[in-house]
């Protein structure tokens, strides 16, 4: 089992507390309509997780700002994605 948290722990972040730069537009769509929930395995930072009610919960703290979730949610366009405020989010040391 791979601990993605251990990978993300090596990274440097300046989290914009209380202002997530990505939001699920309509959580009901994830729970009721989306069969694949691709974001839950494709997100390289595992920001998306299936919840007990069959929906998807998003925690953006470890986000690598790649854009995968935005592009992969092609059936429902249910990811409201923008860049973090200037200076916030992932800060790559090596890139």
């Amino acid at each position: 089992m791979i601990k993605i948290e251990e990978k993300l722990f090596q990274n440097r972040y300046r989290v914009d507390e209380g202002r997530p730069h990505i939001q699920i537009s309509d959580p009901q769509v994830c729970a009721d309509d989306c069969k694949t929930q691709s974001c839950t395995f494709a997100c390289p930072a595992a920001c998306y997780a299936k919840d007990e009610g069959g929906g998807v919960v998003l925690t953006t703290d470890g986000c690598l700002e790649c854009g995968t979730c935005r592009v992969i949610c092609s059936e429902y366009h249910n990811v409201d994605w923008s860049y973090p405020r200037g200076g916030h989010g992932i800060l790559f040391k090596f890139g």
Binding site: I4, K7, Q10, F41, A42, V71, Y83, G87, F94
Partner: protein
């Protein structure tokens, strides 16, 4: 009255820095906006620097650019579960005074490049996210930022804001990225003492080795992996088309872990200390996916314009070249006292068409479609090649003629004779 610049550049990656530097050096008033804490902190690449593209912008970059190693050896490996078959090209000729390729780390490199922009007189403002383009009708006249009172105006805006290219999308200049036209790559950097890197890869001084990898590690998905030597570290990563990840239901970090555990890779990174994990989308749609490159008061360059040659793993050189050509277009128009209207900015597209950037993309324009339709190039063939090598190299009492027959049989069985001929033809047509 808001300040007005000759040009605003959005983003401080290779495209943005090339554009901002070229214009600032020519005496234009340039504002460059970057959302990272410093230039480079948002940017991810393998990373290989192709010297030629940068030489045309900063001829003496070798004097002070933070370069890791110059590449003297390229290995290409095709992996099966436990084995690999491959080729090497190594030449002492790459040890010239002006090597052609270097490994770099993008964070320090982009910071260095940005320093050159500032030294040339460009105004670089970091920690500022551009949220919108300001338009007057169809014409782009400036940008809106997330800073208070953050509207800034210019004669032209060069978009070098990276693969997600949100600004052009919001303005309706091009559509949404499609999962089949973009690869998701993940990578790690592992630190090791310099002498360990040297001895493991049979290199001395600042010589470097790169390994490009295909085969079993991508689970049949269209994609490749890589391992690059830096001064005191090794970068390794793997990327596949996002549409394939979606179909396969595999997490990208699972692939990365499997790559690290492969018997051909594990000894190379053993004992290394992992210090960063990164992910990035790469626009791999090629020629057919390139959007409109200019309009009234704007141009788009680099990854945001999809300018990546996926076949040859080239991107940053296309980015720098497109940024430079966009800048030269603005400089030429200023000299002729012509406005940055779409008909005038068409020179940018013409210059790109005339350069290796569009020529190379055009050469491989059919390849993305062919790879989508023929995934066996990434699954069946790697296995067949490895097993063929294994069969020939196992000395087990079977005669060589029979061994050849076994190998031929395995190819025909997997792909059929017509399948083999068809594959050869398709690859020839797509790459000629």
């Amino acid at each position: 009255m808001a300040e007005k610049f000759d040009a605003i550049v959005v983003g401080a990656g290779p495209a943005g820095n090339a554009a901002a530097y070229t214009m600032a050096k020519a005496g234009l008033s340039v504002l460059q906006l970057e959302r990272g804490e410093t230039p480079g902190t948002k940017n991810v690449q393998g990373a290989i620097l192709y010297a030629d593209a940068l030489e045309r912008i900063i001829p003496d970059f070798r004097d002070d650019a933070p370069l890791e190693r110059h590449v003297i050896e390229q290995r290409m490996w095709v992996l099966d579960e436990k084995s690999f078959i491959g080729t090497n090209y190594r030449s002492d000729a790459f040890n010239s005074d002006q090597p052609n390729r270097y490994t770099i780390l993008r964070a320090p490199f982009d910071k260095w490049f940005s320093g050159k922009v500032k030294a040339a007189g460009g105004l670089v403002i970091c920690e500022t996210t551009v949220t919108d383009l300001i338009q007057e009708g169809k014409k782009v006249i400036g940008v809106r930022t997330d800073r208070e009172g953050g509207d800034i105006y210019a004669d032209v805006v060069i978009l070098a804001d990276g693969v997600n290219s949100l600004l052009a999308k919001k303005a309706g200049f091009h559509g949404e990225l499609e999962a089949k036209n973009v690869a998701l790559a993940v990578k790690e950097i592992h630190f090791l003492p310099e002498e360990v890197v040297q001895s493991r890869f049979n290199i001395k001084g600042n010589e470097g080795v790169v390994i490009e990898i295909a085969g079993a590690v991508t689970h049949g998905m269209v994609g490749t992996a890589f391992l690059y030597t830096n001064k005191e570290s090794i970068t390794l990563g793997i990327g596949c088309l996002l549409s394939d990840f979606k179909k396969a239901g595999i997490a990208p970090y699972t692939l990365l872990e499997e790559l690290k555990a492969h018997p051909a890779i594990a000894p190379l990174i053993e004992g290394g200390e992992m210090k960063e994990y990164a992910a990035h989308l790469i626009p791999e749609g090629g020629y057919k996916a390139v959007p409109t490159l200019y309009g009234e008061g704007w141009m788009i360059a680099g990854d945001s314009a999809g300018l990546v040659n996926a076949v040859h793993r080239e991107g940053s050189n296309l980015a720098m070249t497109s940024g430079r050509l966009a800048a030269e277009t603005v400089i030429a128009l200023k000299e002729m006292k012509l406005p940055c209207t779409a008909p005038h900015l068409a020179r940018y597209k013409a210059a790109l068409d005339d350069s290796f950037v569009m020529k190379d993309l055009r050469k491989y324009k059919e390849l993305p479609d062919i790879l989508h339709g023929n995934p066996h190039f990434f699954s069946v063939y790697p296995q067949l090649l490895n097993r063929a090598a294994h069969t020939m190299l196992m000395v087990d009492g079977q005669d060589k003629h029979s061994k050849e027959k076994t190998i031929r049989g395995s190819f025909v069985e997997q792909r059929s004779l017509w399948g083999l001929v068809g594959d050869a033809y398709r690859m020839w047509r797509a790459t000629r």
